[in-house]
């Protein structure tokens, strides 16, 4: 017993001494802080996909994946011409020579086998960590079309690396000017696969997506005055929302229960909300100035809008019931078309600068810090709309003459024209697909 106590005491003393020594060494150790890292896109290689029957489809799918990943700004997609690995290399980690992928600078590796079946296509997808030399994701994805399969794969890659859903299967609505009038057009997120939903001789403006993606709210002059109309995808119906006023610029609340809009009546131009059928209209702003262009915060508790009550159009924020209205922009003399980011931290808007050109900016909701996205790229870059993950923006630009549709990341980098030709305006990026 005595011996055991002695041993325990010795052990405790040794432990205490070791701890004290380690603590002393740690305390004596010089220490530095390294901050401000360089954020860089993750170098990723998308290998040529193996074909299970249709080599052309496999190549098309790989091309879509590369283009999607390159456009989103998160990845540096390596040029396939630089690859050193055997093109016939298999999917399993054991069959892959990772050193060859490391030699071309890849951190991540995307491989897939694309098969064509009676119901469409499927991909056996693998994502591999090149440095660790192991597989980190394996799953099978089905799709009816090759392009859709490519978008699905790209979405999975984004989900793997960020933990967030990708946006490559979302859609972007826009108004296209035609010789006879206007069209309501919907594009895939990469600008492909344009579908005309409506073709009108009357003015069409400002489409806005229902949060679940089944409907679009559009401002139409079909009846001679601006009014809100709802286009439903399921039955292609187009119905007027009777708000009781000339109305424009509708915006769905995040839960789809209310619509915020600008109403023009004898009392002026103000921000109102109503039920989706137009009933229960409620006026939120009462100033004699112009109050317009409302956009909901992602939690549905606030609205950002434009008002010229201070003499020039500026951005204001208020509660969803109209209380606590406060100005948030104090720079620039013409700020308009605000759109609240789905992440809630930023509001994108169009502003005219001192050279009287329009550019796209963001302002942080907390600190009011303004960041410029476009500059010296044509005379008008405007009407930003957020991707549902808040990591990209769509906007229009006349940098090449006719206004075209572009996407960029929130810093303004990787600006990519995704649709051009006829004049495009007021883009609206849709929500995540339901499936």
């Amino acid at each position: 017993m005595r011996f055991a106590r002695l041993t325990a005491a010795c052990l405790a003393l040794t432990l205490a001494l070791a701890t004290a020594t380690a603590a002393a060494a740690s305390a004596d150790r010089p220490r530095v802080v390294v901050d401000a890292p360089d954020f860089h896109p993750l170098p990723i290689a998308v290998a040529s996909f193996l074909a299970g029957g249709d080599a052309r489809a496999a190549a098309e799918v790989a091309g879509v994946v590369r283009a999607d990943l390159a456009r989103c700004g998160l990845f540096e997609v390596l040029d396939p011409r630089s690859f050193l690995a055997d093109p016939g290399e298999g999917l399993a980690a054991a069959s892959i020579k990772f050193s060859r992928w490391a030699d071309v600078g890849a951190d991540g590796l995307v491989k897939a086998r694309v098969s064509k079946g009676p119901g469409g296509f499927s991909a056996d997808l693998r994502i591999l960590d090149v440095r660790a030399g192991r597989e980190v994701l394996a799953l099978t994805l089905p799709a009816t079309e090759a392009r859709d399969l490519g978008h699905r794969i790209a979405d999975e890659v984004v989900r793997h690396y960020t933990g967030e859903p990708g946006i490559f299967r979302t859609r972007i609505a826009a108004i296209r000017r035609t010789r006879d009038g206007r069209e309501l057009v919907v594009f895939d997120a990469d600008g492909q696969n344009a579908r005309v939903l409506l073709s009108e001789k009357a003015l069409l403006l400002m489409p806005a997506w229902h949060p679940r993606g089944g409907e679009l709210l559009v401002t139409s002059y079909r009846s001679g005055i601006p009014e809100l109309w709802r286009y439903r995808f399921s039955d292609k119906s187009f119905r007027r929302v009777n708000t009781g006023h000339a109305s424009m610029g509708g915006s769905w609340s995040p839960d789809g229960s209310r619509i915020a809009f600008t109403a023009i009546d004898g009392n002026g131009t103000d921000v109102w909300t109503c039920n989706p059928d137009g009933r229960g209209a409620r006026r939120l702003t009462t100033s004699s100035a112009l109050d317009l262009s409302p956009s909901w915060s992602p939690d549905g508790k606030k609205l950002v809008f434009v008002s010229d009550r201070a003499g020039t159009p500026q951005l204001y924020v208020m509660n969803a019931d109209g209380s606590q209205q406060r100005r948030i922009t104090f720079q620039g003399s013409y700020n308009q078309t605000p759109q609240w980011s789905p992440r809630g931290d930023l509001i994108a808007f169009t502003a005219r600068d001192e050279r009287r050109v329009f550019d796209v900016f963001t302002i942080s909701v907390d600190g009011g810090r303004i960041q410029r996205l476009t500059q010296d790229q044509g005379r008008t870059n405007e009407e930003p709309s957020w991707a549902p993950n808040g990591r990209m923006l769509a906007f229009t630009s006349d940098r090449s003459g006719t206004p075209q549709l572009l996407v960029a990341d929130p810093g303004g980098d990787r600006q990519t024209v995704i649709a051009s030709g006829a004049e495009l305006m007021t883009p609206a990026w849709g929500p995540f697909p339901a499936d």
Binding site: P30, R31, V33, V34, D35, Y161, S333, R372, Q375, T416
Partner: protein
């Protein structure tokens, strides 16, 4: 022998104690000078290049911000070799008959790029004008865009370590903004006398494997400067604690 010469000789005889004392003092001084160590020059030491920057008028606060132009490519000369006083530059020759404009490149659909064509004289004029424009464009009169006064008072070796690590401190953009707010990691580096990292230990991981891997890569990819002679043993045995944050 004249009386004048005689008196001079007499005076010279009286000077010998002073001459002996002078020789002794100079000898002592010479010995001291030889024994004393001269200034130590560290060949790896990077020269501190000071540049005076006169900034233009402050941009009016009511103006919207402008994107700053890309900084010119870093001049590697001062990083690797001491700066020597340059010879006066010879006047540039005028545009010769063989001078041809460089083909203009235009990035599509990226930001509009500056025109690169023109003769050398035109380019110089263009640079001068653009420099003047830039000077007038923006800035704070009391700003210090390039300075880092903290380094002057800190440990110079540690400052060089931080600079070396920061060059390789690259984090993938795939890490979300919210997560960036709290990501921290601490690594202890055990440094060999020649600057190689003998081994490293994670004292605290961030919990995000991608971020931790980026830290590890920064450590492995960085060649640190050799520690000061009097601290080499300490850096080798006790190590240097590096706190990484965003």
């Amino acid at each position: 022998m004249t009386g004048l010469a005689h008196s001079a000789l007499v005076r010279r005889d009286r000077l010998w104690p002073a001459v002996v004392a002078s020789v002794a003092v100079h000898t002592v001084l010479g010995v001291l000078a030889i024994q004393r160590r001269g200034p130590v020059f560290d060949s790896a030491q990077q020269p501190i290049v000071a540049r005076l920057v006169r900034l233009g008028e402050a941009r009016p606060k009511e103006y919207l911000p402008r994107k700053e132009p890309e900084p010119p490519p870093a001049d590697t000369g001062p990083e690797t070799a001491p700066v020597t006083s340059p010879e006066p530059a010879a006047p540039e020759p005028g545009p010769g008959p063989s001078a041809r404009p460089v083909p203009t490149t235009r990035a599509t659909p990226g930001p509009s790029t500056a025109r690169t064509g023109g003769t050398r004289g035109e380019r110089r004029l263009s640079n001068l004008i653009s420099g003047m424009k830039q000077e007038l464009a923006a800035g704070s009169p009391d700003g210090d865009p390039l300075g880092d006064s903290g380094e002057a008072v800190g440990d110079q070796y540690l400052a060089r370590v931080v600079r070396a690590l920061r060059r390789n401190y690259r984090v993938p953009s795939t890490i979300g903004e919210k997560e960036r707010l709290y990501l921290r990691g601490t690594i202890v580096l055990f440094i060999e006398p020649d600057g190689r990292v003998l081994r490293h230990e994670f004292v605290k991981r961030s919990g995000n494997p991608v971020f931790d891997e980026a830290l590890e890569r920064a450590v492995l990819d960085t060649r640190l400067p050799p520690p000061p002679e009097d601290a080499r043993e300490a850096y080798r045995r006790r190590g240097l604690q590096v706190d990484f944050k965003i």
